[in-house]
Amino acid sequence: MKLIRWHRPELSAWPGFGRISNLREEIDRLIEAPLSELARTSRLLSGWTPLLDLHEDKDNFVVKIELPGMKKEDIDVSLHDGSLSVSGERKSDEKFEGADVYCSERFFGHFQRTLTLPAAVAVDKIKAQYKDGVLTITLPKAEEGKPKQIDVQIG
């Protein structure tokens, strides 16, 4: 049997107040939340989008992508028409299937990220390494894509 205090409906507070203070809290939260927190929110709406960085130096493009808790075999890296695609699936732990869940913030399931490389790369020399949950892909530039220095003789 439940004992719930009975509320006289006409005495309850005007609902508008609650809504306004909620809005106020929401605005405060948005202002105070750091940018990364907002990125997290958009990630919630769109599923799992692993974060990535792209660096370029004279000889290589280096892509770093955060994929914590994966198995090497579950990550696919492919190159097609100058666009690099990283995809895979992160499987949830089966041993916790029956357990009570207190907090569930991690994403599981399929992901895919594709980016177009700014220049041609030597397809046969691409290397990838997976360490501490970060996948590093090194893509050496193709000879024709490298900037060339031409000595011009001025007569």
Binding site: L54, N60, Y102, P118
Partner: protein
């Protein structure tokens, strides 16, 4: 005017440590709790787990990355990870263990024997 502006810019950059909260999953079983925290870029050496009173603090420092050249595209945050959790008094703090695998920290927090459910045989 210029002086004020300069003063403001210096004041806006206080030296402080910035952390991001790792995403976590927490499960409870009969034996205890298991917490998984995502800390990509953190190795065993960068981990610090401290117990104080009824709180557990997990800190993960990323190995500083040196990538040659210029960044064309950046989404990743280089801040270190930190998060504090309150412990259930049922946890046997002497038996807490932790491991990190591919950027996921797993902390196992067993419950002490006296609170574990058990069956009593009737004579």
């Amino acid at each position: 005017m210029k002086a004020t502006l300069e003063k403001e810019t210096t004041n806006n950059h206080p030296v402080r440590e910035e952390y991001v909260a790792p995403s976590v999953n927490i499960f409870e079983t009969k034996e205890g709790y298991v917490m998984q925290a995502e800390m990509p870029g953190v190795g065993k050496d960068g981990l610090e787990i401290t117990l104080e009173g009824n709180e557990i603090t997990i800190t993960g420092r990323r190995i500083p990355e040196i990538v040659a050249g210029e960044a064309l595209f950046r989404e990743r945050d280089n801040s270190d990870f930190r998060r504090v959790f309150e412990l259930d008094p049922a946890i046997d703090t002497a038996k807490i263990s932790a491991k990190i695998e591919q950027g996921v920290l797993t902390v196992t927090l067993p419950k002490s024997e006296r609170v574990k459910p058990r069956k009593i045989t009737v004579d």
